[in-house]
Amino acid sequence: MNEERQRILKMLGDGKITAAEAEDLLDALGKNTGAQAAEAAAVEPKPLKNIKYMYVKVLSSQQDNVDVRVPLGLIRAGMRFTSLIPPMALATINSSLKEKGMNFDLTSIKPEDIEELIRNLADMEINVKSKNGDIVKVYCGE
């Protein structure tokens, strides 16, 4: 039993609050701890699923089909290259990205960001269907 709950019960025992008031307070406390638990669960990093590959499938209406299976380790290794790009080149890349409307700083990528990115890729699924019947699917799996 937590401290707040004990205090409410003590107040009820001392006659400072009525049973109805105590019930309301306990309900409010229950809701509050529920919300806190949900918040904590949202902040807590998700467990890494057993995903190994990213799949990219393109099914064209003109029967041009593309099927690519990329190991996630390749993404990780590729991201490592950003730390080896000379600062001058990074500045050029960043300004080019900004020009194209992507306000993204490559210098701010840290190894833990890469891990989080890969972890979150597990839940990612992209399905695109164009007017002419082309289908693009991107997802991760084992």
Partner: protein, 93 residues
């Protein structure tokens, strides 16, 4: 683990068919020998780059390249057109 085998399959209709099985495990010892032979030059280049404050780390680049090649194991690319019966299929294992 570094990739040991690469399969390459190219079909273009009924006229052209190519199927290659490339034993990469044979290439890696040669790459190692070449790297060892180049090592004195690489060390020299690294020293020059560091003295020039160029912030280009050759050995880090080689290490990253090695990890990139290692991570390629399992990569599959398949492009085909059923209408023209053409296919390009690359698998790295």
């Amino acid at each position: 683990m570094i990739p040991s085998v690469m399969n390459l399959k190219i079909h273009s209709g009924e006229r052209f068919k190519l199927r290659l099985w490339l034993p990469l495990f044979i290439i890696w010892p040669f790459v190692l020998v070449v790297l060892l032979l180049l090592l004195p030059f690489l060390v020299l280049a690294e020293i020059v780059l560091r003295l020039a404050n160029a912030r280009i780390y050759l050995f880090a680049i080689i290490g990253a390249l090695f990890s990139l090649i290692s991570a390629m194991q399992g990569l599959t690319v398949r492009v085909n057109n059923e209408k023209h019966n053409s296919l390009v299929h690359v698998t790295i294992r």
